[in-house]
Structure formats: structure tokens, C-alpha cells
């Protein structure tokens, strides 16, 4: 049977498209390898004990370390989580368990997703207007507020999704045995979903640990390791802000600290991501 030009073109374009899809996927993975490979190479080459133990010395040739920034990020995440996790979880519980008889559940769910897409620098400006401008001082409270603002929608939605995955038979069995709705939620449903909810929280923490923009005009940055409560009322160091500040300095020794910081940050996020996957898989074997 003679094949027409149309037939031949169709088959040729089919083969081309097939190969192109594979090529595009390979290209994307190659980009990933390129970016992470570069960051790993310069990062591990610059890691040292000094990084974890010293503060910046102010001398560009012997820049010291980023101990202050590690402590700073830890404190900021802790403060943000103290507000963000409870509020996020409570909202998630409401969206999952009280959805049927509520007229605000749908709008809240929608706005949660919308808030998650707000540029983080805009959240930083909100933090500035709320907690920096009135006091004329950069401080850690504003930074934590901005981070909590980003955390809450993420924790709320993941908590809701995980609670919805708990089979309804659990709830029905509990009610059938005479428990109240509150008891059912707190003592049956939430414990059943604990692992997954923790996963969602780890996701939010990983996201917030890598944020730079919201901290630029809230906590700003500092060269000193925070030691006491009063340090929270002043400019506060963070890993991301310090990396940014070091990376644009002219002295290569100072920049090397930024590379080390980047690899520490990425390792933290990678470990959190892996931990999430392992956690989820062990909860749902097979």
C-alpha cells in the first residue's frame, strides 16, 4: 500500500515528538544535576569547623563563621512555629471536620491556597509595616511574624488533607461508642493522622527555612549570636540573609562562607524532604 505524504508526515512527527518528550525530561534532570552539582562542589569545598563555631570577624580575609546565623534561623523558625503550627493545625481541623455545616469553610480553603501564593517579599513588607515601622527598629518578632504568615496556610491545608485521609469508619465507630465529636477528633482522628500531619509541618518548616525576602526588612541581619530575650527586639541574624549578604562581597574568603551556608541550608531541606517521604511510606506500607 503506497503511503501518502500525510501518512509519512504523521508518523515522522510522531517519532519526533516522542523523542522530544524524552529529551526535554533529560534536559530538566540535567539542569537539576548542574545546579545541585555546582552548589555541592563549592559548598563542601568551603565547609569547616569554623563555620559552625565562630561569628563573623569583620575581617574580609578571615571572615570567621556563621554560628550566629545558624542560631538565628533556629530561633526564628522556633518562634514562627510556636504561632504557625497551632493556628495552622486548628484551621486544618476546622476545614476537615466541620466542613459540612459551615459556610466559611469553602472560602477559607480557597483563601488558604491563594495566600500560599502571595510573594514572600510582600509578606515581608507587611511584617515591616506591622512590627518594624511603629518601633523604628528591625527585630526578630517581625521576622517570625512574616515566617508564620507563610507557614499557616501550608500547615492548614496539609493538616486538612491528612485528616481527610483518615477513614470515616474511625469517626463512626467512635460516635457509635458514645464519644462526643470533640473527643473523637482529639483522641481518635488526630492520633491516626499524626505521622502525616508531622510530615506537613516538616514541609512548612523546610519552606520557611529557605526564605530570604521576608527577612530582609523585618529581621534584617546582625553579626552577633543572639544570647538573651532582649536580642529579639533588635536586628536578628538568619542563615539566608547572611548567605545573601556574603555572596555579593568582593573577598573570596567571605564568599566561601556563603557557599558553605548554602550547602548547609540545602542539606537541611533535603533531609527534611527525605524524612517526609520515609515517614509517609512507613505509615502506608504497600
Amino acid at each position: 500500500m503506497a503511503s501518502s505524504l500525510h501518512n509519512r508526515m504523521t508518523r515522522a512527527s510522531n517519532r519526533v515528538a516522542f523523542v522530544v518528550c524524552i529529551l526535554f525530561t533529560v534536559f530538566i534532570l540535567a539542569l537539576l544535576a548542574l545546579v545541585t552539582g555546582y552548589l555541592v562542589k563549592i559548598g563542601f569545598g568551603s565547609l569547616s569547623w569554623d563555620f559552625f563555631t565562630k561569628e563573623p570577624s569583620g575581617d574580609p580575609k578571615f571572615p570567621g563563621g556563621m554560628r550566629h546565623a545558624l542560631v538565628g534561623t533556629g530561633v526564628l523558625i522556633l518562634l514562627a512555629s510556636a504561632v504557625g503550627i497551632p493556628l495552622g493545625m486548628l484551621t486544618g481541623v476546622y476545614l476537615a471536620e466541620y466542613d459540612a455545616k459551615s459556610f466559611i469553610a469553602s472560602p477559607v480553603r480557597f483563601i488558604c491556597d491563594v495566600l500560599a501564593g502571595v510573594p514572600s517579599i510582600v509578606v515581608g513588607i507587611l511584617g515591616y509595616e506591622l512590627l518594624v515601622a511603629p518601633f523604628s527598629r528591625y527585630n526578630a518578632w517581625a521576622g517570625s511574624l512574616a515566617l508564620a504568615f507563610i507557614m499557616i496556610p501550608i500547615v492548614a491545608r496539609t493538616t486538612e488533607e491528612m485528616l481527610r485521609l483518615v477513614p470515616n469508619s474511625y469517626r463512626e465507630a467512635s460516635i457509635a461508642l458514645g464519644a462526643t465529636k470533640a473527643w473523637t477528633i482529639i483522641r481518635v482522628v488526630i492520633p491516626a493522622a499524626t505521622g502525616s500531619i508531622v510530615t506537613g509541618i516538616m514541609l512548612a518548616i523546610a519552606r520557611v527555612a529557605g526564605e530570604t525576602a521576608p527577612l530582609l526588612f523585618t529581621a534584617l541581619g546582625s553579626r552577633f549570636t543572639p544570647t538573651g530575650w532582649s536580642d529579639l527586639n533588635n536586628p536578628f541574624p538568619s542563615l539566608t540573609a547572611q548567605i545573601f549578604s556574603n555572596s555579593i562581597q568582593p573577598a573570596p574568603e567571605t564568599r566561601a562562607l556563603a557557599w558553605a551556608g548554602i550547602i548547609v541550608l540545602i542539606s537541611l531541606i533535603f533531609v527534611l524532604n527525605l524524612g517526609m517521604r520515609v515517614f509517609t511510606r512507613s505509615r502506608h506500607p504497600g
Binding site: 466541620y98 514572600s120 470533640a182
Partner: protein, 346 residues
């Protein structure tokens, strides 16, 4: 007692949920209030104004006769107040996001088709995980890679290559040359290619939005009913023709996924700030440095020291917020709407 506990939990969680609504309201209201001085000073013209100048200018006052005014033998100077306009940064955001979409959408769609129609399950899971890991890399890391790897590559290889290929082609003169004001004359100069320009910004954004669009498109394509795909194959379609039918079927949801990528690209700050060149100007060439709304905020907000400058910056933030909200709302409506329409009999 028991009813009390029920009520406590219900109202506590309801209060928490209402907080979400308050958060959005607070964001809009507080930013709008802080931007008021600039809104009063510039009005709607702020959106179209092309000049952004934070400092005062001092120049000799020209009298009605065309000569400089002199009082007591000294030249009288007039001070021109700062002027702010959002058009350059809106332009920068639009162009970089456009480049990002043009590069990312074909790549993401190809990868999504690979994951749903070519690779088997065992291969698809690790590949999906790797692509999603691209999304977990913090923005500052992309900025560093962009500044120290991609920008030099563009400066030393890609852009000179483009210039050698297209520099003498008649239609592309604007891409490699610009008009520059020197004193009273306007001369044409070639654009200096530093590798830190809108092209660099667009490319780094493309890499950052690929994981989102790929993951969403993969999920959307996976939800196309098998009957639809098998129907096309039964009618004799090739693999590619059935793929095109899948894309056509879920086109509104895919468009929503692209819009979500666009929203992310428009709001991205750190990576773009480090590679875009940070010059507030409108230049049609992608090889010219520029400034996006978010990079403008990142570079100027910390150093703004007068009321009007800060208010103008907050107004830019407000424009950015409204844009991102609009994209997100439309995109979610499309993606969610598309999924529920697919679930019903088509």
C-alpha cells in the same frame, strides 16, 4: 460538660479559620494604607509613568524668556522633587515572566507527557521526585548559581553567539543597540552584554517554575479518562496524536497550571534580583538590564529614607500583590473547575 467541650473545640477551630480571612484582609488593608501618600501624590498615572527617581534634582531655573534667572548675580536653582513610576518595573516583570513561560511550558509539558505516557510506574516515581526536588531548592541558591554560573555563561558564550548570528540581520538591530542620551545628543550604542539582563532573569525563573508546572500537568494529564485516550487509539491515532487529544481535553486545567507558574514567576525575588542587572529602565532588548517589581523592593526598600519613596515602594508591592492574587484566583478556578468537569461525563 460534654456539650461544652464540643463547643470549645468547634469555636476555637472556627476562630482559627476566620483568622485566615483576617490575614488576607490585613495584608490588603495595611499595604493600601502605607501606600496612601504615593497614591495621593501620583494617582493612576503611577502605573504609566516611566521615570523612577528617588532623589531630588537641582537645576538652574529657566525664566519665561528662555534664559537662566539670576538674582543678585547668582543663578536661581529649582529643585525637582522625586518622581516615581511603576511602568519600568511592570515591564521588567512582564518580560521576564514571559521569557520564563516561553521556556518552561514546553519543557514541563514534555516532561509531563513523558511521565504519564512514556515511562513506566517504577521509573516515573523517582523522576517525579527529582523534578520536585528542584522546587525545594531555596531561591537564594538559584540566585547564587545564576550569578556565578549562568550569567558568566551568558556573557561569554550565549550572548556573543546571538550577536554573531543575528547582529547583522536587519530586523534585529533593536536587540543589540540602544539609544543613549549624552549631553544634548542622542547617540546609538551597542548594548553591553554583561550576562545580567532580562534574559538571565527569565531563564532562572524558567528553571524555578518548571517543577510546579510539571507536577501539576502530570496530575492533570493523569486524570484524563482512559476511555478518551483509548478512543483515539481505537480510531487509529498515533501516540503523539492521542497526546495532543489529552492536552486538548484538559486545556483549561493546563492553562490554570501555567497561570500558577506565572504567578510564582512574577513574585519570585531573590534569584531574579541577583541576575537581572538592577537598572530601572524600559529597553526592548532582552540583553538589557532591567528591574522587576520584586527586585526593586529587595534593592530599594531597606534604604528608602523618605516617606514618599517608601510609600511608592509599598504601592509597587500592592500592584504585585494584586497581580499575584488575580493570577492565583483565576488559576485555581481553572484547575479545580477543570478537574471537576473531567470527573463528570464529558
Amino acid at each position: 460538660m460534654r456539650i461544652g467541650a464540643d463547643g470549645v473545640l468547634r469555636y476555637t477551630t472556627a476562630a482559627s479559620a476566620t483568622l485566615i480571612l483576617l490575614m488576607l484582609a490585613a495584608l490588603i488593608v495595611i499595604l493600601a494604607r502605607a501606600a496612601m501618600p504615593a497614591v495621593h501624590a501620583f494617582g493612576w498615572g503611577f502605573l504609566a509613568e516611566r521615570e523612577w527617581r528617588a532623589n531630588e534634582l537641582s537645576r538652574p531655573l529657566i525664566g519665561p524668556d528662555g534664559k537662566t534667572v539670576k538674582e543678585d548675580g547668582e543663578t536661581v536653582m529649582e529643585t525637582i522633587p522625586p518622581k516615581f513610576g511603576a511602568m519600568p518595573v511592570i515591564y521588567g516583570t512582564v518580560v521576564t515572566s514571559g521569557i520564563a513561560l516561553a521556556v518552561a511550558v514546553p519543557l514541563s509539558l514534555g516532561a509531563a507527557l513523558f511521565l504519564t505516557r512514556i515511562s513506566g510506574r517504577r521509573f516515573a516515581t523517582p523522576v517525579s521526585f527529582l523534578i520536585e526536588f528542584l522546587a525545594a531548592i531555596p531561591s537564594i541558591a538559584y540566585g547564587i548559581w545564576g550569578l556565578f554560573v549562568m550569567a558568566p555563561f551568558l556573557q561569554e558564550h550565549l550572548e556573543p553567539f546571538c550577536r554573531s548570528m543575528l547582529g547583522n540581520v536587519p530586523g534585529f538591530f533593536w536587540m543589540f543597540h540602544q539609544k543613549v542620551q549624552v549631553g544634548k545628543d542622542t547617540i546609538v550604542m551597542p548594548i553591553a552584554m554583561t550576562g545580567r539582563d532580562m534574559l538571565a532573569g527569565g531563564l532562572i525563573l524558567a528553571i524555578m517554575i518548571i517543577p510546579i508546572i510539571t507536577a501539576l500537568s502530570r496530575d492533570i494529564l493523569r486524570s484524563v479518562p482512559r476511555a478518551q485516550i483509548e478512543g483515539t487509539l481505537a480510531l487509529g491515532a498515533t501516540w503523539w496524536q492521542s497526546c495532543k487529544e489529552m492536552v486538548r481535553f484538559s486545556r483549561s486545567a493546563l492553562f490554570g497550571a501555567v497561570m500558577l507558574g506565572l504567578a510564582r514567576a512574577a513574585g519570585e525575588t531573590m534569584a531574579v534580583t541577583m541576575v537581572i542587572g538592577n537598572v530601572i529602565q524600559i529597553n526592548p532588548s532582552p540583553f538589557a538590564p532591567a528591574q522587576t517589581m520584586s527586585s526593586l523592593l529587595a534593592t530599594q526598600f531597606g534604604e528608602a529614607n523618605n516617606e514618599l519613596h517608601r510609600a511608592a515602594l509599598v504601592e509597587v508591592a500592592l500592584i504585585l500583590l494584586v497581580m499575584s492574587l488575580a493570577f492565583n484566583v483565576v488559576a485555581r478556578w481553572l484547575v479545580v473547575g477543570g478537574a471537576s468537569r473531567t470527573a463528570q461525563a464529558h
